[in-house]
Symmetry: C2
Subunit: 362 residues, 2 copies
């Protein structure tokens, strides 16, 4: 098993992590799941994108992801079916994924260079464009819930680290011991990534490059993955909401902030257009303003959600920006678009039948 | 003088801080300065927007701002005239404003609730969409220079606080004593704002509201101001760049991050469209994705820079989002658009004649 892991890590380091959309017309791995009918409500969730391939996803692991994705999407769907808000549904789905060690968010957050866990999350309400975000929190079990409190009970949109946790305590959150976020898998991944990075640095490769190349290795799928979880929903009242939560990149340093807590980059919602949650190489999603770009293209260029999502993921992300996004529009059309081999995702609309997918062609 | 300050603070607290664009057709304070001719290079800078009015800006202060704005715009212009890059010009102009106590950035940064100074800055290069940003730094004399190093020498776009400063040291920055950022004016402003906030809280107004209402009081102009400095430039090679730097809101808490360090919100540059730097009530600029929105409107709705800037500032910012932005497009058209009574700004194009303005109608 370890040999397979090393093999795939090598493939990744040899360029397999690169965005495959430089020649979008020849890419066979892209996949868009879209329903074109209008429906009253619906929810889409994701648990990260990456080289998620059938060949190295044992049945037991596939089953574990399927079950957890179904549990998460059903939690949000139940709220929507009962007439609850998109915002409430998004929080419920994200919270379940944050509580699972399977995903790089909350409990399963990856480790920083200093062997800590720094988590980021954000939420946006399409009804009034209100938003909340936290970055660099280390003692909050459910960062998505803290982002919600920032939105509702502070005059701010974005709080960081210790300050965010002071606010959390004022809001009645119980801070948890960092030990809660320890998972053996993620810790071993950090050690492997550090060893690899050191070896590359010793051979003269600038740290700027080594850090990034190794940062997305994920031992769970025996290859690379842009972890992060997210959900987007449309409720029966016509309101959209989006939420995203992550542990960021393994071995990240210097209190790096990725795209997940940034409104417009990792998360965006607007009743006029769509709700979007991204997962991927955060730096490129920030530079591309990816989540808002889908909305802007729908609003100004009158593109459909599917067209806009495809364009952003396959053409507009700058450089080697790998990853994907999920979206839902004001008519209930749903999409999951990615330029990586796979993406953990689930859809559930009016008909109440969950669709769970993880590979590129299903 | 103190009585005048209190009077204007009261006016501000009674609603004067509100965005005036709820009825944009009747607003007489908006102003757009735009040149429609094509030119090879040019630069626009700003030093914040707010209730900057002739009646309460003594000649000596007006002179001080005029001189410093001219020095800053000339510094960038000289670089452009000699064939230097837009990125270099933007940094040079912003640095001069960071080094002056007149502006809320660098030396003149406002104080947080804890009597510290937490500074944010970001830069974007329109040529390759590369970007760098720092937030919450407390010991860096020129945050704009650190944002540049993040862009050039790290794999990341955005770093926070202590981590950002550790990176700064690795990059050869000398950290400065926080005492460097002490200015009597700003410190007194904090005390005044705290007293006012406390009084309001004691009277039962939720802190969520009191914090924001008082946060933009600026003793320099005896009223409210959304401090922040920024610059945008077009160089002879056709490249655009934008940069923004700020101390944020007086009395800010919980490690609040505003729009200035957020790519897409406070800063954006893309050779295809424009370079933008914003100043204003950061939370609304984040929710509106203001800087990128100007670019998106130009790209997708084929609007001119001036049309897009007017639309974003006067129609698209959500809620009470007050403030302004400066922009330059790939043909050298320049704009400063704001929904506040005034904005410190300067323009300099091919003809080498600086235009310095601060009030609404000049």
């Amino acid at each position: 098993m370890k040999n397979i892991a090393v093999l795939f890590l090598c493939i990744c380091l040899m360029g397999g992590c690169k965005k495959t959309s430089e020649k979008p017309e020849s890419v066979s791995l892209q996949k868009s799941v879209a329903s074109s009918q209008t429906q009253d409500f619906g929810i889409v969730i994701h648990g990260g994108a990456g080289s998620i391939l059938k060949d190295h996803t044992p049945d037991s692991l596939r089953m574990a992801y399927t079950q957890k994705l179904e549990e998460a999407v059903r939690a949000g769907h139940t709220i929507l079916a009962e007439g609850g808000s998109a915002m409430k549904a998004v929080r419920a789905s994200v919270k379940i994924m944050e509580d699972s060690p399977l995903f790089n968010a909350g409990k399963g957050a990856v480790f920083t260079h200093e062997s800590t866990n720094e988590m980021d999350a954000s939420l946006m309400d399409g009804k009034n464009l209100k938003a909340g975000a936290v970055a660099g929190v280390m003692h909050v079990k459910n960062p998505i819930e803290l982002a919600y409190k920032v939105m509702e009970n502070s005059p701010h949109v974005m709080l960081y680290g210790e300050g965010a946790e002071e606010f959390a305590q004022e809001q009645g959150f119980e801070l948890v011991d960092p030990a809660y976020f320890y998972t053996q898998d993620r810790y071993e991944t950090l050690q492997r990534v550090k060893a690899k990075t050191k070896k590359e640095e010793d051979s003269g490769i600038p740290r700027k490059d080594t850090l990034v190349k190794t940062a997305f290795y994920d031992s769970k799928i025996e290859d690379y993955k842009f972890g992060t979880v997210g959900a987007v929903a449309l409720d029966k009242h016509g309101n959209l909401a989006a939420g995203t939560s992550t542990g960021g990149m393994t071995n990240k340093r210097w209190n790096r902030i990725g795209d997940s807590p940034i409104i417009g980059a990792g998360t965006y919602a607007n009743n006029k257009t769509c709700a979007i949650s991204c997962t991927g190489w955060g730096e490129y999603f920030i530079r591309g303003d990816a989540a808002y770009d889908v909305s802007a293209m729908m609003e100004y260029a009158v593109k459909s959600l599917e067209e806009a999502a495809k364009t952003v993921i396959n053409e507009k992300l700058p450089g080697e920006g790998g990853g994907g996004l999920i979206g839902i529009d004001s008519r209930g059309n749903m999409v999951a678009e990615f330029n990586t081999p796979g993406m953990f995702r689930a859809f559930m609309g009016e008909n109440g039948k969950p669709v769970i997918e993880m590979f590129g062609k299903e």
